[in-house]
Homo-oligomer: 319 residues x 2
């Protein structure tokens, strides 16, 4: 299939996958993933969140990938390879004083996730990170729930910001290829100078297809995770992008090795992927949290009861 | 997404799913599926194969859905509902004397699966079934391995046959949306008077996306199976088509009920779906049989070893 020549894969296994297992990844696993992705030719690895525990009510029991610390990162990745490192921050949860200048950090890319109403705050953060030397992205979440006029306002503000890449994010996994086409064309028209990215979820088994569709339309930054690991239905699988994109530097074997060694055993303990409750939240254009609550309850396989609840308007206070 | 107005779903759960469990479905389950599909608005249910045990070396231990018998079918489905019934036959394995005239059978549709080299034989069978009153299809398998000149010869022969529907079949699950577009446009150009169908496999997580793409281009007959049950990586999930296609007669709830009641328990005993060995055979454009053999061996999770074998040309005698 046609593809943009400058495609880049951004592997989110640790960051988005951490939402599944509370970032309980061993240092050995994360090091092995970094080396595997590097060997596979993957351009970026998002190694966690750079939010501040102070702004999230304490570090609780989460693994170190939830609140990345630069000293810790330098210790575990003493030698940078070709794969660049990324961290995600959320509006209102990041303390700018926690961020070192890029020259003193192992991080290369800082991505700012926000809802449409907070794009102004995202731009403010981006300006600071940009000034510190980082590559930056703005990831506007839950686009399927944003009114056109608000989105156009967002894009107009972003247009004049220093941000490098702007993401189309299908947070609820509710979009199909024609929705992606519609959004990408809108982003391209209103942000002609910006590079674009896509972050897809697999609720309707369309994460890979939507990512390919976006790429064919010129979207360069393609989020993925190994074996699709990510919250609820998970993401576009890294292995599928690595094998499918036409670029001689990509190498499938190290990704398969990573899956065999770490992801299959992990999938036996933790759950993500195409499951009916997430298909239901996806098709209803809802956040997956109600599906995740179901899967953590005794009613985990009572899909019809869940569907009836989700389709009874007065019972849904969830969106 | 745009879709053809006359779309029809052909549920293959029993027929293709039987390749997973040797057609070991209880009569109660098949009856429940029939009633669920009818309530869901699904147009066709393929209830099995109508091959002859004599031509396959005896009925062995397979369930009754492998060698459908009209008397048996009449007994278990005494009352036809809106959902029509279909059976698949293979070239060289069907005894025409086993087929009753449609007026005496509960079957409505007979589909003939063949490889490109046997299209002449498929047309011969179709002419007979057509003469007996059945709706008919020809399903040309393994299109990704057919040379253009052979395919054009096939289509020229089919053009003048009485067959109602001609299928694009992605037997190896190796095609992406642009491949599907290429094939569908070729079929449309060379078979302007025929209706088209698609049968996709999910090796690359593209079965649903490829089916939607085909449908948007005018393909009317959409094969699917509940919870994707089918050989190896399985098929396009019926539940996704039912929820996604814009047609008020489709109803997701009975499909979810079927999944909760039968398919989740069955998936705990039997294996199908997106698994790395099938991703590997898909991306290599190979029949999944080597992946199936791996999954039935002690090496079932040794993906790298399998990948190395499959990518060493002198070790692959498989295609």
């Amino acid at each position: 299939m046609g593809q943009h020549k400058a495609s880049k894969i951004v592997d989110c296994t640790i960051r988005d996958g951490g939402l599944v297992n509370n970032w309980d990844f061993s240092v050995e696993m994360v090091q092995y993933l970094y080396s595997s992705l590097n060997e596979a030719g993957v351009e970026y690895m998002e190694i966690g969140y750079k939010n501040s525990p102070r702004l999230l009510g304490g570090a609780d029991s989460a693994g170190p990938w939830r609140f990345l610390n630069d000293d810790f990162l330098k210790k575990i990745i003493p030698q940078k390879m070709n794969t660049r490192l990324s961290a995600l921050v959320d509006i209102g949860r990041v303390d700018e004083n926690d961020i070192l200048p890029r020259s003193e950090s192992v991080l290369d890319l800082i991505r700012v996730a926000c809802y449409s109403k907070d794009v102004d705050k995202a731009i403010d953060l981006v300006e600071k990170f940009h000034g510190m030397g980082y590559e930056t992205t703005i990831n506007i979440m839950a686009l399927s729930n944003v009114m056109e006029k608000d989105l156009l306002e967002n894009l107009a503000m972003i247009k004049d910001s220093p941000v490098d890449v702007v993401y189309v994010v299908d947070s609820f996994g509710s979009l199909d290829m024609s929705d992606i086409q519609y959004l990408v064309e809108k982003f391209k028209r209103h942000l002609p100078e910006k590079k674009l990215g896509i972050h897809a979820h697999n609720n309707m088994q369309l994460a890979f297809a939507n990512t390919l569709t976006a790429n064919q339309l010129g979207v360069e930054y393609l989020d993925a995770s190994v074996y699709g690991m990510g919250r609820a239905a998970g993401n576009c699988p890294t292995e599928l992008l690595v094998t499918h994109l036409k670029n001689p530097k990509y190498n499938l074997r190290p990704v398969i090795d990573m899956i065999e060694k770490y992801m299959v055993p992990l999938r036996e303990k933790e759950e993500w992927g195409y499951l009916i409750p997430y298909m239901i939240t996806g098709t209803l254009d809802q956040h997956p949290r109600s599906g995740m609550a179901l899967r953590n309850s005794e009613d985990k396989d009572r899909f019809v009861k869940f569907y009836d609840k989700m389709t009874t308007p007065e019972l849904v206070h969830d969106k």
